[in-house]
């Protein structure tokens, strides 16, 4: 790495807190639509394959504090995550796993995604949620809520089923990400500091007792 001492001499004043959330899951489950829906407030009319990593953000307010929520929307194809996406796992505060309720394979891939996060030293300390998308296609569902809930429980994650598309769920998508943001805000600031390094051996520093548990408001 190049040294850049001269650039770091004048640090900017403290800014609003930033929550960095990575959104992962198989190709075509709707990661782009979900993140777009949250950040732009509407369903995008045309989305294409995400190549590499896209970035979206939204400023929210919780208890009078302005917080920047950064969503990193990742490519679903396996080859991208193997060598490309890992840069973006660094310093992540929360993880959103997405599957498509009409696509059983996308649900069966979840253990691999979870393992992927584990390998990037994102363990149980980092809040994780599971989102089953495309609920507007309930008739074509291939993954039952029961099965998904069991899976979520076994990995200590809250489950949300939603639709990025259906207008009725407008607030729902928002609520999901807000839940994550509340959870992050309630953590001690220490929990939002960076992991020591990316060598995969040093675990995240555990903040003091995690109070309040995980409140799933939906």
């Amino acid at each position: 790495m190049e040294s850049s001492v001269e650039l770091s001499s004048s640090l900017p004043p403290p800014r609003s807190r930033i929550f960095k959330i990575i959104v992962i899951g198989d190709s075509g489950v709707g990661k782009t639509c979900l993140t777009y829906r949250f950040c732009a407030g509407k369903f995008p009319d045309k989305t294409e394959a995400t190549i590499g990593v896209d970035f979206r953000e939204k400023v929210i307010e919780i208890d009078g504090e302005k917080i920047k929520v950064q969503l990193w929307d990742t490519a679903g194809q396996e080859r991208f995550r193997k060598s490309m996406v890992q840069h973006y796992y660094r310093n992540v505060h929360a993880i959103v796993f997405v599957y498509d309720i009409t696509n059983a394979v996308s649900f069966q891939s979840l253990p691999a995604w979870i393992e992927e996060c584990r390998q990037h030293s994102l363990g149980q300390d980092v809040p994780r949620i599971l989102v089953g998308n495309k609920c507007d296609l309930r008739g074509a569902a291939r993954v039952s809520t029961d099965v998904a809930q069991k899976f979520a429980d076994s990995h200590s994650m809250p489950l949300f089923e939603t639709s990025a598309k259906s207008p009725g769920d407008n607030d729902h998508v928002e609520a999901i990400f807000m839940t994550v943001a509340h959870k992050l805000k309630s953590q001690k600031p220490l929990a939002l500091s960076q992991p020591p390094s990316g060598d995969g051996t040093v675990p995240l520093k555990k903040p003091t007792e995690d109070r309040g548990g995980y409140s799933c408001s939906c």
């Binding site: 790495m1 190049e2 850049s4 650039l7 770091s8 900017p12 930033i18 960095k20 190709s27 075509g28 045309k46 989305t47 294409e48 394959a49 995400t50 190549i51 590499g52 990593v53 896209d54 970035f55 953000e57 950064q70 490519a75 679903g76 194809q77 080859r79 991208f80 193997k82 060598s83 490309m84 996406v85 840069h87 973006y88």
Partner: protein, 411 residues
């Protein structure tokens, strides 16, 4: 297939100048078309001239010309066009689902206003081309973004010709992207920062400090900008350029875009998210002709062989560029850039003004040893003027830049 005609055949000047300039461009354009016809009519076809035409201002001018010249640039014979593939192509193909998914949602790649029925027909053809090439080349692996490249060929040359052009391209220019993993693609991205460093160390250091990485340029590289530019005319203009050049030229072009936006970059908040966000949103009104010429200049000044060590150092693996060695488009042109290989980094640092955009002349002065090489410098500049700087980038073979070439060129 009329839609193909009207897409990118605007007669407007690429410089968007006033009417006087427009008139100039009209006559230039006519001259260029004549030159291209001439190069096509001789036996064997004058590929070197076609290459120069594809690089120089305006590129290949129209899709009609592209249909004739692109196959020559790829050294493809047109007498053996593939048959329309059968249904079996879609059965038991490991990539079929991913291809289907990506093509079905690639609506933006088709001209606005195209009837749905026509677009859907083209999408089916697109799927067929991709699967056909993959089936015939089991060593190639589909990646998301490949469809963005193939659709450009489909729209310009039609299904049958696109199939053979894309096959050739896939086993050459795109070869590294289609490995089982993206390690080689990552390696190619590692050329980006060293190029930026040579031209503007301030921008380089800023980006390093922000830890922005290079993924913002991933889609640029592996789709040849087809994924990120909304105006199809710009896409095909770039394809003219890239088809005529070394497979690494897209990464030089990526560097040129970053450097063109140096002020915006330096004004950006110095963190990964802000810089990634800024750079990944490519402005749609870029001055393409200018940037193409700059990319050509940079390629000549800092050829891949120069940057290879630094690029390799960015990750401890050595890979990629060597796979280009078998590229068949060996050009017989001389390579004035080989004389630039020996410049030392200190000299560059001493010779460049911080924040300045590179001009080829200044760059050449900076990179050549002051005394012993002065005669060389004049020779290079002479060629630069004669060919247009970007045309030097025609040195598209990735064959090693053997020292003996220095002797051949300047005995």
């Amino acid at each position: 297939m009329d839609m193909r005609k009207s897409r990118s055949e605007s007669g407007a000047s690429p410089l968007d100048g006033g009417s006087g300039r427009h008139h100039d461009w009209d006559s230039k354009r006519r001259r260029k078309m004549a030159e291209i016809s001439q190069a096509l009519s001789v036996t064997p076809v004058d590929v070197a001239t076609l290459r120069r035409m594809a690089i120089s201002e305006g590129g290949l001018l129209s899709d009609e010309i592209r249909r004739k010249v692109w196959p020559k640039l790829l050294n493809v014979q047109m007498d053996n066009l593939p048959e329309k593939p059968g249904e079996e192509l879609r059965v038991n193909n490991k990539d079929y689902n991913q291809v289907l998914l990506d093509v079905r949602r690639s609506l933006r790649r088709f001209p606005p206003g195209m009837p749905d029925e026509q677009r859907e027909g083209l999408q089916e053809e697109l799927i067929d081309i991709i699967l056909h090439v993959l089936q015939r080349n089991p060593q190639l692996h589909y990646y998301q973004g490949y469809h963005d490249i193939v659709v450009t060929f489909l729209l310009v040359v039609g299904e049958r010709l696109a199939t053979i052009l894309v096959e050739k391209l896939s086993t050459h220019h795109l070869r590294d992207f289609m490995d089982p993993t993206m390690d080689n693609t990552k390696h190619i991205l590692n050329y980006l920062m060293p190029i930026i460093d040579r031209v503007n160390p301030e921008v380089h250091d800023f980006m390093q400090q922000a830890e922005v990485g290079t993924i913002f340029a991933l889609s640029w590289l592996i789709t040849w900008f087809g994924h990120v530019l909304s105006d199809f005319r710009h896409v095909v203009r770039l394809y003219d350029f890239f088809l005529a050049c070394h497979p690494l030229m897209p990464i030089y072009f990526a560097a040129v875009i970053v450097l063109y936006r140096e002020e915006e970059v330096l004004e950006c908040e110095c963190d990964m998210a802000s810089v990634h966000h800024l750079l990944s949103q490519i402005p749609q009104d870029l001055p393409y002709e200018l940037l193409i010429s700059r990319a050509g200049d940079l390629f000549v000044q800092f050829p891949p062989s120069e940057l290879a060590r630094e690029a390799a150092a960015q990750q401890e693996e050595r890979t990629a560029a060597s796979t280009f060695k078998d590229f068949e488009l060996a050009s017989t042109q001389q390579r004035p850039d080989t004389v630039l290989r020996r410049r030392r980094k200190e000299q560059v640092v001493a010779g460049r003004e911080p924040g300045a955009v590179p001009k080829v002349a200044a760059g050449v002065v900076a990179v050549v040893r002051p005394r012993a090489r002065r005669f060389v410098r004049l020779a290079v500049m002479g060629l630069t003027v004669a060919l247009g700087a970007a045309a030097l980038a025609v040195v598209n073979t990735a064959l090693e830049w053997a020292p003996k070439l220095d002797l051949q060129l300047f005995p």
